[in-house]
Symmetry: D2
Subunit: 303 residues, 4 copies
Amino acid sequence: MPTLDAILPRLTDEMRADPDWGAVATYIPELAGVDPEQFGISVVLADGTCHSAGDCDTQFSVQSITKVFTLAIALGRSGDQLWERVGREPSGRAFNSIVQLEQEQGRPRNPFINAGAIVTTDEVLGTRAPRDALAEIVQFVRHAAGTDDIHINETVAASENAYGHRNYALAHFLASFGNLLNAPELTLGTYFHHCAIEMTTKQLAMAGRFLVDAPALPRMISPQRIRRLNALMMTCGHYDGSGDFAYRVGLPGKSGVGGGILAIVPNVASIAVWSPGLNRYGNSLKGTKALAILAREMSWSVF
Amino acid sequence: MPTLDAILPRLTDEMRADPDWGAVATYIPELAGVDPEQFGISVVLADGTCHSAGDCDTQFSVQSITKVFTLAIALGRSGDQLWERVGREPSGRAFNSIVQLEQEQGRPRNPFINAGAIVTTDEVLGTRAPRDALAEIVQFVRHAAGTDDIHINETVAASENAYGHRNYALAHFLASFGNLLNAPELTLGTYFHHCAIEMTTKQLAMAGRFLVDAPALPRMISPQRIRRLNALMMTCGHYDGSGDFAYRVGLPGKSGVGGGILAIVPNVASIAVWSPGLNRYGNSLKGTKALAILAREMSWSVF
Amino acid sequence: MPTLDAILPRLTDEMRADPDWGAVATYIPELAGVDPEQFGISVVLADGTCHSAGDCDTQFSVQSITKVFTLAIALGRSGDQLWERVGREPSGRAFNSIVQLEQEQGRPRNPFINAGAIVTTDEVLGTRAPRDALAEIVQFVRHAAGTDDIHINETVAASENAYGHRNYALAHFLASFGNLLNAPELTLGTYFHHCAIEMTTKQLAMAGRFLVDAPALPRMISPQRIRRLNALMMTCGHYDGSGDFAYRVGLPGKSGVGGGILAIVPNVASIAVWSPGLNRYGNSLKGTKALAILAREMSWSVF
Amino acid sequence: MPTLDAILPRLTDEMRADPDWGAVATYIPELAGVDPEQFGISVVLADGTCHSAGDCDTQFSVQSITKVFTLAIALGRSGDQLWERVGREPSGRAFNSIVQLEQEQGRPRNPFINAGAIVTTDEVLGTRAPRDALAEIVQFVRHAAGTDDIHINETVAASENAYGHRNYALAHFLASFGNLLNAPELTLGTYFHHCAIEMTTKQLAMAGRFLVDAPALPRMISPQRIRRLNALMMTCGHYDGSGDFAYRVGLPGKSGVGGGILAIVPNVASIAVWSPGLNRYGNSLKGTKALAILAREMSWSVF
């Protein structure tokens, strides 16, 4: 088998040579202004070594990828009670659809679509002030990544809020069904801020170590919970492109609209890839391609 | 780790002691009349040995489980062209929903919901007579299982046809969008017949060997296709309970309304479980429970 | 006020001068082959006089307009029991949508969308042979129109059947919910045949007299039922363009995909207009325009 | 024909004798606390005379009935441009459904469902301060009713805002599609306030005179616009019970969740009825019954 250190630079070259970079998200200026022609990838193996190539030191907005971390925190705080407020099924809909929320009486289908992540954030927030909840989230991510150099981009958070009518609609809709503990603006404030965390692929791959379940990597949650988070990432991690991702890549993963994807090879590796251009599902175009190739070359499919 | 031969009888006893057997399917008399208080399980390991307990020699109607076999055949005949006619995404709907089919202009979400399996069957049928297509399907299953003692129950097939208005609606709907090569009654005749195949859990576990990808087991399709079939089983194999099954069991699987489930531990084992009573998603109640316990005790989650 | 005999020829000239004829229905060859550049109009006043202009002696396929006649017959046979099988609300959907039928558990929203008209036809059919039901329907229409020169076009009926997958889907779907008394092919055979009745605008305007409620016109149903049929035509008579028709024309009416529209001015007149080209709702483009002008010039809005 | 002064007291007695009063709206305390056992009715004829019976001097919250007045104002301000922002079709959905809004890309189906009325209010608001828009609305209503004794109940408006998550969801959803000129809280503040206008049936029947189109009654809008408003009330005025209302009553009308209904007999009369208990569509139970009886006895159906 070829080594990672041989594969990653070659994969990066291949990705950079491909002229189709996809289209960056445009709903906020901070994302719309990102240069699409960037690609970075980092892999942390079970032995703790980190292997990278490309733009692996550039921080990007991780966006929805934080939903994995807040879900882990929410489950740590509330356990299986969380599932009374949110389901565990793929949605068969766009990430910001409100249709299903009406059909299912205010209980989001899963914690990775926006409505579900708002509920999860609300559970993490509890009765605290948003800054206290955000401090816990950032601390969790920093601890997972093993570095304090991870921050919230306040400008991005402010833009999310300014252009966040769809999320406000979801939050008020949840509230109308009694599925929000806090005022929409408080929960959304927390939500917009944790989505505005920035990381490099190196940092994100490191932060994903707690989902690998390997003796040499940090343990932050139980093995059973690790398996379950990975199961959710597999079935729901890429919105309405989850089936396609499972089919092509075969790994649990979670994408963000900033172009990042965190993918896990259980017991083996944590992978972070980033390229800002998106495919039609809203997932990184080249990130998905690169993961498909890497998984095939390394025989890393879980299947 | 305890051995399978110790676990399976204990698991069977535990399942039989549980008073909640679920409810058998009632839409055709042949299924409605099955005694719900039955439970059987069989596991074929990578070394080819078969381990069973409970009602493992009773034949039952495998129903939708044959969708895995017909999908394998269809991909063998048509390759990726099949995906022009059917998608690969979880549906977020009941197995027989027609709503999504209208929204998506006659292209079913995946090959395991009824509409998608009708398209797959239509692809397998091609321009042949139904009996020729059925002969290939039965032969494929027998070859996979290593036995000729596997048959179609003609009474079940006739009942499916007699009570099959919903499937006729789906087939005509597909035809109205030009997504059916054959007349609805021909494709449905083929579909109803292959769903009426009967097997024991021993036979079904044996038939599932081709999805395990192990040197000592029969190879009928390429390793890449094995992985992809398993990916589809993981994200779509249990209808609108697929996310829950992935969360609780962590294995790719395919259920049938007759109460059977085929689950795969990649590279390790093929598992068939059967108990006729269903849960609210239409999947075997005790089959799902047993698989969750077995996967946990054997550490067989793919995650 | 100008007289009808002055208005109708002028209106016809105006319609013929308008270059946008809309697009004829294309789902069966018999409709697809109709010359779109035709326009005819006929008005029967409360005194029984008939006034016409344009292509008023050309027979066309009345299609869904027969739904008004079959509904009148069904109510005559079954009274308000019919409403247990079909609703009275606008659908907010296309005429052949199956989505709402799933949401409402097999009870069509109203008798003028296809699913509802299939149920109505099924009620008219009852336990009779289709030819007996069809004889009653044709007899009813002939009696209403005061002529025996009204026939079913068998070629159109055969084409409807050959291209009728969507309606077969609806019928089987209804059957799957137990809302069909007869086999789908029997009810649909009856349905396709009565939709294939052909009339001229003169005949259709005459046939509409029984909905006017005027002493000098034939009485076939009670005044209360007349009002109720008109109410249904107002709220549901033009599929998802019913609100627009009410807004622009202000009269109860029923359109057919052959380009005909029957409109009623309660106590005053029966109007039939025909032009084969359709608007985006599937209603006659020029027929709707002409009715809007006529209603305004004659002050014939019910509002 | 019996006279109104004979019919109205008898009708009131009949309504009061009926033990089924329906259920009052409970989503805000001010409506939940209303005594359901009240019934009042007022009719203003074309000659300007007002005839009443029952609780015709009790002010109640007119709620959605104000949507007719704000629509008249919006059309006066913007003309047909309004229809670029909102449709004219019955919705086939509950008054507060958000599903259709997603399907139709943020353009509400009609101005009488909540989403549509929010858009209409936004159009009336324009670039003004809410208090200026409200002053115009209240002035319009007072002028129509011929009295200054009509006010906004500030407590009701405050409650609507406090319990208004569903409407906030709709407003933010509209904003996310760019179909809101003002900040959601400004438009909703205006909306909640005009819905909190209180009137007696006498005042409401008087206020409805401008929709009758009779020489002796005040003219505030053109005859054509009167007809069109009445058409909209007919097809969309009672949410998903509009077809049923047209079928049973046969008059254009607009209901409010406070239990009031305004119905118009074109050229003949303006009718206001009030009874706080609602039917399953959210329309006054006894108000609808009373209107059906009155329309039949007076032969007031438009059909």
